[in-house]
Amino acid sequence: MAGTALAPGKVRVKTTSAMRGHRSRIALVNAVPVTVFLLVLFVYPIIGVLSLSLKGDNGAFTLHWYADALSGANLSVLVSTLRISAETAVLSLLVGFVLAHAIARMRPVFAALAMLIVVVPHFISALVRTYGWIIMLGEHGLINSLATSVHLPGAPYSLLYNETGVVIGTTSVMLPYTVLVLQGVMRGVDGRLLAAAAGFGASRFTIFTRIYLPLVAPGIGTAGLLSFILCLGYYITPALMGGDKQTVVAALIDQQVMKQDQWNSAAAFGVILLLLTFAGLGVLGLAKLRRKKTAARRSSS
């Protein structure tokens, strides 16, 4: 038999792999383009922003630009950016929650249609959507003509070129994110838990606040923070739908670079936005880590 060709028990240790061999080397080679690209065109430019923000006119180290950014009119721009972001986060959470909750209980066909209406605008230019809002919210726009025709008190309302307009616009931009996140957690809620609570005689309000909300709380946190973060550096809607008072940090940066050649100051604002974003992401990451740990504890006990 064939076995005679081989010394029995001959032991040979191979270091190379046969079939999927060199997998980590192939992975490394394939990871090179994106890593190099992002290091050169993403990380390096951001480091450039950082170093510019710390350089005085004479090139020496200074915190002057930060002091400048955090005082006077500049500070109020920062504050109003944070305020608009917070308002947007809350509003998009509320609207997103109502919508996601309704979608979770719709028949599949309607749910799919609803998701289509939520997601499709995400792929339409934000400029275009903002323009649509401008037409709709204007003094003679659809909303106001409707409100006037049914004689709502106080109509026409001023919905444009103020903070209301900005928040309406940004909320519609953030809504796809919040709905998707909330829908994810809502789908994970076991309907039998709610029915079980009802079986104990809990009222609908109690079931909602004591069972449902805690179950979807992680999603609410994530969705809120995500829209807050994404709102921080947002520009198009505030610039087009806001009035003079609704200058946001992004608009200020644009102004300083395009009109005033104040690059250092713009860079300082950029870094502040960056830090705020990192802080938000940090909170998100911590929450995720804690959930993971609790889950690990639960499964181990």
Partner: protein
């Protein structure tokens, strides 16, 4: 399945609120599509008379609009090529290989989706300005690739993960070499994902405003830059027609992706388009 039965009031309430919100979301888009055919541009809604004059003005050869549409198309095409190359290679590394520092590379890929675009735009401006590349379509495309590549990568990762690797093993067991497997098994199965990645890269670039604004010069303005200026400064009713075209383009692109996925037949998750899933 046992569930809490819905009350009639709850049912009606949910249906009404959902309808109102969805209408609210859809209205701005519908309004633009309708207004673009109105004779008096941005006027009352609905328009009293209809025409295609704004579309004719938009397409007028040599005009600002036609020029910027051409520039945007060029930039978006370049961006698509770049981000497909990055998408395929990076996804291969992240989805298939045993990549050292996997988390770091993945984090780097996700970062451009979350970092404020104004910071990226400012950085790119500082990067390209000394090189005298402001206004260069290549510079704008490279900048757009920073935003588009992560989307393409996420799509390609979910595509590659959706392909059973053992199909490649099966082909190998019959004697297929690495190139043959890539050409005859992996590539055809990844085609729907590739098309989706290309379409979304193109759209991302075609619609991008901030980076283009920072990297443009008065002579080279992409379509969104022109739209923004038209909205902020001179109210040119042609912008309504342009907006309608942008809407149509987005819907066509989504329809194309949906069609390709359906034809592909094997299920691919819809994920990877919004940076939502990696975060939750």
């Amino acid at each position: 399945m046992m569930e809490l039965p819905a009350t009639r009031a709850g049912h009606v309430g949910r249906a009404l609120s959902a309808t109102a919100i969805l209408l609210f979301l859809a209205m701005p888009i519908v309004i633009i599509l309708v207004t673009s055919f109105g004779t008096d541009g941005i006027g009352t809604f609905p328009p009293e008379h209809y025409s295609t004059r704004w579309y004719e003005q938009m397409a007028a050869p040599g005009g600002n609009w036609a020029t910027s549409i051409a520039l945007s198309s060029l930039v978006a095409s370049l961006t698509t090529v770049f981000s497909l190359v990055l998408g395929v290679t990076a996804a291969t590394a992240l989805a298939r290989g045993r990549l050292p520092l996997h988390a770091a590379v993945y984090g780097l890929v996700l970062a451009p989706m979350l970092i404020p675009q104004v910071v990226i735009a400012l950085g790119l401006f500082l990067f390209f300005e000394p090189a005298g590349m402001l206004g260069s379509p290549l510079a704008i495309a490279l900048g757009h690739t920073v935003l588009a590549a992560p989307i393409a990568i996420l799509i390609m990762i979910s595509t590659l993960k959706g392909i059973d690797e053992r199909l490649e093993d099966a082909a190998a067991s019959m004697g297929a070499g690495r190139m043959t497997i890539a050409r005859r098994i992996t590539f055809p199965l990844a085609t729907p994902g590739l098309i989706a990645a290309a379409v979304f890269s193109f759209i991302t670039s075609f619609d991008e405003f901030f980076i283009a604004q920072f990297l443009s010069t008065p002579d080279t303005r992409t379509l969104p830059v022109l739209v923004f200026n038209a909205l902020q400064f001179d109210v040119d009713p042609t912008v309504t027609a342009v907006s309608a075209v942008l809407i149509a383009l987005a819907i066509l692109a989504l329809a194309l992706v949906a069609l390709v996925r359906k034809l592909g037949g094997h299920r691919n998750q819809q994920g990877g388009v919004l940076p939502v899933e990696p975060l939750t």
